[in-house]
């Protein structure tokens, strides 16, 4: 099978060199990096809004750009949906006309009524059809923009910080819809963000960018726990992401028991149905280490593992370690002194005490 997406681009923008190479087999690929790292330029190149000096973009086996072969499809022939940071709805059209905008130009691809209904349901925007963009809230606008891109039947969906201009409540309103997009539609998505929480929650594949380069790319959970990445400016809040299945919920204490690769975890939160899958994020600074199994501690979650890697110190006395817990990586930040006193070396058996777990995705 063709890879869903292959990108290889070299481009100079003023004094800034963009050099990026990554691929994806579908799902949601997060492009993560600090502002000014070239993420938006990269998606503009993929979408055909910027023409790079050298580059090749292949989506689903179709070559959209190959500067060497002289191929450069204009953006309106690429069939790449683009959700911009600001929704960019057409102010002179109603929500319905905005949603069906793509249909005017590709009657063959025109969505059937059932598809429109499915998108309206997926995004929860059915009640807005007759309204005009000016009367919508930021979150509503962004959902309409997502629907508009989907209804143009894209091969690939680009989302450039679609939540950046929204407040926390609006973000929380949209995130579940993006998760459903990822899980229910078979359209590869490239999602640009500089927010760790969004990336941790959404990414199937993660490409980290810094100063115009993709410094690392790979499966989301794996990349997020790599120590060399943890030090990057954007990911200062290093942590690891674990996925687990709900075994039981204790309503008395409000705790859910979760089975993950690293072992059983108890997480606080509202009742959850058995068998549901949850993603949790554990910050490195919330993980303590102990040589023996500790007794009489208030912490609920103690995971057994081995030291896999000891990172370099940050120069202020703290060291980040990667602990292998049954194959799942867990990051822990302790002092350099502790590493020395406990005699921590790679391969040593250890217990990780998790002080707090935050649930990233229901």
């Amino acid at each position: 099978m063709n890879p869903a997406l292959q990108v290889d681009v070299r481009h100079r923008l003023g004094g800034f060199a963009l050099q990026a190479q990554f691929g994806s087999d579908g799902g949601l690929t997060a492009l993560f990096g600090p502002s000014g790292s070239g993420k938006t330029s990269l998606v503009n190149i993929i979408g055909g809004l910027i023409r790079p000096e050298h580059g090749r973009v292949v989506v689903d086996g179709q070559v959209l750009l190959d500067t060497q072969a002289g191929i450069d499809l204009p953006s309106h022939r690429r069939r790449i949906g683009y959700v911009f940071q600001e929704a960019r709805l057409f102010p002179h059209l109603t929500v319905r006309q905005n949603l069906l905008f793509g249909r005017w130009f590709a009657p063959r691809l025109a969505p059937a009524t059932t598809e429109l209904d499915a998108v309206l349901e997926l995004l929860g925007i059915g009640h807005l059809l007759a309204r005009r963009p000016a009367g919508l809230s930021g979150g509503e606008k962004q959902r309409v923009a997502i629907g508009r891109a989907l209804l143009a039947k894209p091969r690939l969906l680009l989302m450039d910080e679609p939540l950046a201009s929204l407040d926390e409540a609006r973000k929380a309103e949209i995130l579940p819809h993006i998760e459903r997009l990822r899980d229910e539609l078979h359209i590869p998505i490239i999602y640009v963000s500089h927010a760790v929480a969004e990336v941790a929650r959404l990414a199937t594949t993660l490409a980290v960018m810094e100063q115009g380069r993709v410094v690392v790319a790979g499966p989301g959970a794996e990349v997020m726990t790599r120590l060399d990445i943890a030090g990057l400016s954007g990911l200062r809040e290093a942590g690891s992401v674990l996925e687990g299945e709900v075994l039981a919920h204790d309503p008395h204490y409000g705790l859910t028991t979760l089975r993950s690769r690293a072992g059983l975890l108890q997480v606080p939160g509202p009742p959850r149905s058995q068998g549901a899958r949850l993603r949790v994020r554990i910050l490195a600074r919330d993980v303590m280490l102990s040589l023996g199994r500790p007794q009489g501690l208030s912490a609920l979650n103690i995971l057994a593992g081995t030291v896999a890697e000891i990172g370099e110190g940050d120069g202020r006395g703290a060291v980040t370690l990667r602990i292998d817990c049954g194959g799942a990586p867990l990051l822990s930040r302790v002092t350099a002194k502790s590493v020395a006193e406990l005699g921590l070396v790679p391969g040593l058996g250890i217990h990780a005490i998790v002080k707090s777990v935050s649930v990233e995705a229901p």
Binding site: S75, R77, F84, R88, F90, F105
Partner: protein, 231 residues
């Protein structure tokens, strides 16, 4: 009201309206095209084109009219060609008055449309492109509707300029009652004959009424359109 104006005066009013609206409508497509080129185009000679469009605004109207006569008159290069190939004669015809007033109103038309095209958010055009709209389609369904208020403003300005155009018209097509005698020419004629004050005053009042009506109509229209465009 027909008792109030003499038949000749009525003819002048009707002719003025005909000339001004034809001038406005005929120059509109060219005005939009040139405005788009000036707003969005990047080509050699853009500032020359800009200057050429604005020339009628700064030249004395009589000079413009004389240049028209030289080139579009029956012996002028363009005029002779038009007559030989299409049998079209502009000099001393009402169509010539249309040409003269259209050229005089053109800079105002282009200027208003150009400003409104420049004000259209390019990002919306990019978004339309990603949804499958080709460049011309983007122009038709996004750019054009969004600059409709500017286009209306330009049309009204062009119409008003054409209604009032005198110098270029009288130089190019003279002042022939029933053919090229528009309101300003008729007023001018009245002022040249003894006892013409009453006629001049009547036509002046009509001029004022027409201009004010056009202005209010355009304001109302523009308000409605921009409400729609802004959502």
């Amino acid at each position: 009201m027909s008792g109030w104006l003499s038949p000749d005066e009525w003819v002048a009013v009707r002719l003025s309206l005909l000339v001004a609206s034809t001038a406005m409508l005929v120059s509109l497509p060219f005005g939009i095209a040139i405005a788009w080129l000036l707003a969005r185009g990047r080509f050699w000679g853009k500032s020359l084109l800009d200057a050429a469009v604005h020339l009628p605004l700064i030249l004395p109207p009589v000079v413009t009219g004389y240049l028209l006569l030289l080139s579009f008159g029956r012996k002028g290069p363009i005029g002779a060609w038009l007559e030989a190939w299409f049998g079209v004669v502009l000099s001393f015809r009402w169509t010539g008055a249309v040409l003269a007033s259209a050229i005089m109103g053109f800079p105002l038309l282009v200027r208003a449309i150009r400003l409104s095209i420049e004000a259209v958010d390019r990002k919306l055009e990019d978004a339309a492109g990603t949804l499958g709209a080709g460049p011309f389609q983007v122009f038709l369904v996004v750019t054009l509707p969004l600059c409709l208020p500017g286009i209306l403003a330009g049309m009204i300005l062009c119409f008003a300029k054409a209604m009032g155009e005198f110098g270029a018209t009288i130089t190019f097509v003279s002042n022939i009652p029933g053919e090229t005698q528009t309101l300003p020419s008729a007023i001018y004629t009245f002022t040249q004959v003894p006892g013409g004050e009453a006629g001049a005053m009547r036509l002046t009042l009509i001029s004022i009424a027409l201009s004010v009506t056009a202005l209010f109509a355009s304001e109302a229209l523009a308000r409605r359109v921009s409400r729609r465009v802004a959502g």
